[in-house]
């Protein structure tokens, strides 16, 4: 796509296809680059400890699940959990700093860029960062040989991207209505923790009683894991389109709400 830049040219390309959000993405990338190693370690440590601690420690006491050791079973859940965490932290704490504390967004809005560019840049950035977190866990999986089939496990990459976009969109919507950092605790308590415990990270969601299973089916993480787990175990997931659409729908709905709510917050 070509965007001729000087005066007036910035709008020549149709609105939806504009790449004018890229400078916002790039700004976040440059900041991240300065602290890339500690940031990656921070993202990795928590899910890795869950996977290795529970996988080895608890795994010894458990029978195989569906014919695979518990550690192998846990791997896919850990990927999704890690991606969700990374996208959520980025769009809550980090984006809130930029929006509310540092006024970075306000400064950008004084340039030709609009709020849509800012939010699109943040959305794609958070998804990019969570893609890195997902890939980091994937490298561990490959390193330990937890995947049943290497080629099939490559299918995790698009799942990671979708999951990242899903939780980044939801996170931006929460960010838009948040008065302070403390508010995010509600989101973790009411949304993230239930997802981790009911979405099938640690055990197959099918083990839940029917009514709880029905509730868990509404959670986006359940759908991410429904795609990721078979891919680690060397199988083609069932209902790929359905699960993919649910993740995308949550992400788009979150992003749309974020646009509406942030406009109300900053530009009125």
């Amino acid at each position: 796509m070509s965007t001729t830049r000087p005066a007036g040219g910035i709008r020549l390309t149709p609105h939806v296809f504009r790449l004018t959000f890229l400078p916002v993405w790039h700004r976040n990338f440059l900041v991240w680059k300065k602290l890339a190693i500690p940031s990656l370690l921070g993202n990795l440590a928590d899910p890795m400890l869950y996977m290795l601690g529970l996988g080895y420690g608890l795994g010894r006491l458990l029978p195989d699940i569906g014919g695979v050791p518990y550690l192998n079973f846990l791997a896919a859940g850990t990927v999704c959990y890690s991606v969700m965490n990374s996208a959520t932290f980025e769009t809550l704490y980090s984006a809130f700093s930029r929006m509310h504390v540092q006024k970075t967004w306000a400064a950008i809005l004084n340039t030709p860029l609009g709020l849509r560019d800012v939010l699109l840049g943040e959305w794609v950035w958070a998804a990019s960062k969570s893609l890195l977190s997902g890939i980091a866990i994937l490298l561990v999986i490959w390193g330990l040989g937890l995947q049943a089939d290497f080629v099939m496990s490559l299918g995790l990459l698009p799942v990671i991207v979708l999951t990242g976009l899903c939780f980044a969109g939801l996170g931006l919507a929460i960010n838009a209505v948040s008065p302070n950092y403390d508010f995010f605790l509600y989101y973790f308590t009411l949304a993230i923790t239930p997802m981790v415990l009911l979405g099938g990270v640690f055990y197959p969601a099918t083990e839940l009683p029917a009514w709880l299973k029905a509730a868990a089916d509404w959670l986006p993480l359940t759908h991410a894991i429904a795609l990721a787990r078979p891919l680690v175990l060397g199988q083609l997931p069932q209902d790929i389109l359905w699960h993919g659409m649910v993740l995308l729908a949550y992400g788009l709905a979150g992003f749309w709400a974020a646009c509406r709510l942030t406009r109300r917050r900053l530009l009125r």
Partner: protein
């Protein structure tokens, strides 16, 4: 070219409150225009409207030939903004702040890099290119915010209280910078609470209150039109009694603010002669200034 910025019958309400209530403003190219008003007068809302950040309820806005808010993005290509809060990127150095900001205007990295030396020089930050933001003084941060507003070589620059919180040295440096910008032909829209600053820098001043324009003109014109040429401020133990009738006898208008009596007059000699004979009173004779106009027009005038 016509006005750099033209606001016509502009209105904006929040709930029941009409923050901008039929405001008209024409910004002549190449001039420094001051927008003055007490807190809550509608200055910041006017600036946000003029940048196309928020939509007006009624009226029209034209910025550099572009209709707002529809063509806000194109208009802002040619505009620089120095916001009230610096909003510099604390994770970046001085140089990186300018590089990153230039990208928001679609500028290529080498284009911005070519402009960097001149920008750093303008801001007096030539030796600080690789300094992190938290190591800069308040004055340096403001100058960097000014340099950042120039990264796209704008025609119009909006400055929202650019010297608030600075010491006199730092303030004078900013003033020098702003004078150089008008000398280069840039158009400036300046909001400030410092009347002295507005009087020194602005070719033209609009005083607004309750979202309405209440006076407009060159600083000297405003002073000539609204207040007497001389002010005698009288202080002292006895200022309650003795001096009030004195003031009434010798000057056109006087007002009492706290313990001080302000006497406005075209011919101060007789009053001063009388005050010379009253050593228990302290007095100060000075020419009238913009602050006198401002206080009179915005109703802080305690004549009762």
């Amino acid at each position: 070219m016509s006005s750099a910025l033209s606001l016509k019958d502009l209105r904006k309400s929040y709930g029941e409150t009409e923050v901008v209530a039929g405001l008209n403003l024409e910004l002549a190219p190449g001039t420094c225009h001051g927008l003055l008003g007490p807190n809550g007068a509608g200055k910041t809302t006017t600036l946000r409207l003029a940048l196309g950040l928020i939509e007006a309820d009624a009226g029209s806005i034209e910025l550099l030939g572009h209709r707002l808010p529809h063509e806000a993005s194109q208009a802002r290509m040619r505009v620089g903004v120095v916001p009230q809060a610096d909003s510099l990127d604390p994770d970046f150095t001085v140089r990186e702040n300018l590089l990153v900001f230039g990208r928001y205007f679609g500028l290529a990295r080498r284009e911005i890099e070519a402009r960097l030396p001149a920008l750093l020089d303008f801001a007096g930050l030539a030796g600080k290119a690789d300094t992190r933001i938290d190591a800069l003084s308040g004055g340096m941060k403001r100058r960097l915010a000014l340099a950042r507003a120039l990264v796209n070589d704008p025609d119009v620059i909006f400055l929202d209280e650019p010297t608030t919180g600075l010491d006199p040295q730092a303030r004078h440096l900013i003033w020098q910078g702003l004078r150089r910008l008008t000398a280069q032909g840039k158009t400036l829209l300046l909001t400030t609470h410092f009347m002295e600053e507005a009087e020194r820098l602005c070719d033209r001043i609009s005083i607004i209150d309750h979202g309405r324009l209440i006076a407009e003109g060159a600083p000297r014109e405003l002073i000539a039109a609204h207040v007497e040429a001389h002010v005698v401020e009288i202080d002292g133990e006895d200022s309650e009694n003795g001096c009030e009738h004195l003031a009434e006898r010798y000057c056109r208008r006087c007002e009492k603010i706290g313990e001080t009596l302000f006497c406005y007059t075209a011919e101060p000699q007789a009053l001063i002669a009388a005050l010379e004979g009253m050593p228990h009173l302290r007095y100060l004779h000075r020419p009238a200034n913009l602050e006198d106009v401002f206080l009179k027009l915005t109703g802080r005038d305690l004549r009762d």
